[in-house]
Symmetry: C2
Subunit: 525 residues, 2 copies
């Protein structure tokens, strides 16, 4: 297997040359193209790239790039347990949480796939016991609320998933349905406000930190324990931990139980582990979480397909590289036309920018091209009344990634002017794709829309747990493939370390930097 | 008054030349500089630009740019009621909502300042009557909840303000404290979920649409009315409108009352009007909203100062132009170290990108430089565990705007390892500024931090209504000044129109575009 920088591939210069030929969307976005540029994904999802500025010639070059950078081969190595997190000398096994697609992965004499399955079953059983009332709180009450304490990967993904499924679960009449809350920020106003909004004696806390040393999470754990004690409740009856077996939170009688992940699961990729699984399984039942995993597993399987026209994650990744390195566009907007996905862009922002916001290659070598873009987004139609002005008529172009579903989650709708709100939502989505692509001429330059704003669309029937799993894994795999193309290690995050070190110095009173001391004084630290 | 494009100013080429000289932050960010680069703002707020890549020479050129583009003169014209929204032939008067700084503004024989004051008093009286129980719901119950129906400017700003003050109000023991909710998206799952979470017989709905024709808002109004009727409640006893006097919602017996704004208040600038005022005054009391207006008014006053070293909004604006057009950085991240400001970046994203995401000047003429950047952000420390990897070690540089406060809102804290959570929060903030500016060398390239990432800091004592008003007006004024520098009309939003037109065509069944018809079919419209 060869690991070479993108600009050292033979296809690189061909792509650079191809970028000089404009693929005009106004001319090319035909009904035929929309039908043709369609890639089935897992569950009911379909990836449509018709409105991307990608000609057949460019698609062929992207296929050549996929082949030359051996994307499928590298993915298979990852699945087989090769050390793909080179900086930290770790395997990368979040796909294994969803099912096995490669060889048995053995570490320290242990079959890791079996370990993940056992933990899944352990926390499924635990969640059932909470839901049935077999496990109760310190005052003997059934748990009606579950609150996660975690930050970053232990917060954004699980929170986005919970929000995505909350209404779906209501509609399905899942019983019981525990209400979930999240405490993440070290700002004590966050924890305090959450605590004030829940019945402590009926709340189970899920403490998530792989290392067991995350500053914010430990501070919030102490905060919660203090409140529990003041309410006359035994904290050990109200907290369950998700951590690694070597952390201080493991095998610790301060908790109801502990569920384990290992170093092969990166924080931002941990939604499929107990980090996302305990709260989702407790809130909605283990079957819901297993459906989610099944959808993700199907996406993982699809990502093994070598033909880019049949592999949505790989094609999406390559089009992203095309836009970033050859069309030179520094951002990507994620625009789900689904209120349930309101925090999905925030999770993707983390997933993408923390994985591929890197300036050295997987060996620490220099790279001479741009890597991961800025990712941002809000749900439609809300975004239309916010930043779409920039998207339509700004001086710069942001590639767009639309997501939409045929059906609402709650099926509670109203007809106004001959159409339901769901139909209006979808009509807006379809209209925006074409408005961005084709624009509109007007003699008034202020009303002129240049168009040529590229977008893709992921569409599905309904946002179910399975569709959600498929969707999340699609993006995880897209980001993985982009890391392979850019020759990065997408699985470490050294960029977060310096801030931690300096924070500790400030807190110890010895910052070692005069300017930092003045900032500290200004903030009255 | 001259209105010329940025690249036609005499100082433009000097700035371009200055951009070739690097102002090294690692060398220059001294204790002395942090103390010196400090501009008092309204309330307790201070703008600090020490960690920006702005030398004294560049600051002098930015002052020259401010003078040449007559930023203060144009601001004064705006305050005096000149038609600054050229495309729509409208005055721009959101500052007048907060107090009068210019001449009397007369339109159609009416003193607009008096009109705004009367409306403020009218909805203050209404809010008091709701809070005291003088105005009750259809079933004779006191209102305990208030839910806003609106989108874009009628949603993001008011929502951000409510979230920013919710905990503060709790701490102040304001009685009563109505719980606020927001319905915005045309996705019916949004309205349905909100309705399911509130006691309908105790909920006042605030319907906000200036035109009274916003598709999403009318659909959600019908949705809400339908639910009220099904609950046996008279909708006219549960809804109050905020609209223009010429809209179908005005003087309409379907509502408890209607409060008015006019065409001189742009949607995204309407937080200081009834669009934000009715819900804030009802939830927390009119005095809270008036304090907010007072803080904003102080910011507006400060923005009249011609010396950029004393005018935080103007300096912030000019540094943004310096970074966008001369350092060529296409984004800006807003990073409030305050959970209460969790949705403030989303509002600023709208404010900025909808105002200055423009590609023609105020006369519809071409421009040959970049305008408004992409704005994104999440609260710290959460963001540190998400996209900060990109910010520290990505291939591209995003200028940063930090915000932080000395005190928490709830004053409910815990000490761990010798420091409170509030202190940890602030230590992280101070540390990040210096980490971004100075970086850190390491023999391992993966652990190397290049630094030279510019940031500013707005710091204050505590996030109170007054500080919040000052903060919001700062950004509104910053964006206004940038629009003047770029010679834009920052007050229209033609870029949102095409999508609306195409949506209507889709809904009427005659899209006129074959590709659009296929997209519609894929989404089963």
């Amino acid at each position: 297997m060869q690991y070479i920088n993108l600009d050292k591939t033979t296809v690189y210069n061909k792509l650079a040359a191809a970028a000089k030929i404009d693929f005009n969307l106004r001319q090319n976005l035909s009904a035929e193209r929309v039908l043709k540029c369609s890639v089935p994904m897992a569950d009911s999802l379909v990836y449509n790239w018709a409105a991307k500025k990608v000609s057949d010639d460019v698609a062929a070059l992207l296929q050549a790039l996929a082949d030359e950078q051996e994307l499928i081969g590298k993915y298979k190595l990852l699945l087989d347990g090769e050390v793909m997190n080179t900086g930290e000398n770790r395997k990368v096994l979040h796909q294994l949480l969803r099912g096995q697609l490669g060889k048995d992965v053995i570490a320290d004499g242990k079959n890791i796939g079996d370990f993940y399955k056992e933990e899944l079953e352990r926390f499924s059983t635990f969640a059932e016991a909470v839901r049935s009332g077999k496990i109760k709180g310190g005052a003997g009450k059934k748990f009606t609320h579950v609150a996660q304490i975690g930050i970053g990967g232990s917060d954004l993904g699980p929170r986005a998933l919970y929000i995505a499924l909350e209404n779906w679960a209501k509609k399905e009449n899942l019983t019981p349905c525990l209400k979930a809350k999240f405490i993440s920020n070290v700002d004590p106003d966050d924890a305090s406000a959450v605590i004030n909004s829940i019945p402590l004696d009926e709340t189970l806390f899920v403490l998530v930190s792989k290392s067991g040393t995350t500053q914010e999470t430990l501070a919030n754990e102490l905060f919660v324990k203090d409140k529990l004690k003041k309410a006359g409740l035994d904290p050990s009856k109200h907290i369950v931990a998700v951590t690694s077996e070597t952390s201080p939170l493991a095998h610790n009688s301060s908790y109801l139980d502990s569920f384990y992940i290992d170093d092969f699961i990166g924080g931002r990729y941990s939604s499929s582990s107990g980090a996302g699984g305990v709260i989702i399984s407790t809130a909605f039942g283990p079957a819901v979480f297993k459906d989610f995993l099944q959808g993700a597993h199907e996406s993982d399987k699809n990502a093994l397909e070598p033909d880019i026209r049949k592999n949505a994650a790989m094609l999406d990744a390559l089009i992203g590289v095309w836009e970033r390195n050859f069309l030179r566009l520094p951002y990507t907007a994620v625009l789900p036309y689904s209120q349930a996905l309101s925090r999905f862009p925030a999770h993707l922002q983390q997933l993408d920018m923390e994985s591929n916001g890197k300036r050295v290659n997987r060996y620490g070598g220099a790279i001479a091209y741009e890597t991961g873009p800025v990712v941002f987004g809000e749900p439609g139609t809300n975004g239309q009344h916010s930043f779409y002005q920039f998207l339509h008529q700004g001086t710069d172009i942001a590639p767009l990634q639309f997501i939409g579903f045929k059906e609402s989650q709650l099926d509670d709708d109203i007809v106004l002017d001959g159409s339901s709100s769901t139909t209006k939502l979808k009509a807006n989505l379809a209209a925006q794709i074409v408005a961005f692509a084709k624009g509109q001429d007007d003699s008034n330059p202020n009303k002129q829309f240049p168009g040529e704003r590229p977008s893709s669309l992921i569409h599905g029937d309904r946002l179910t747990p399975r569709a959600l799993g498929a969707l999340l894994a699609h993006f995880e795999n897209k980001i993985m493939f982009q890391g392979f193309v850019w020759n990065l290690n997408s699985f470490d995050q050294e960029g977060v370390q310096l801030g931690k070190i300096l924070t500790k110095k400030v807190l110890s009173g010895k910052s070692g930097d005069e300017a930092l001391d003045v900032y500290s004084k200004l903030l009255r630290i």
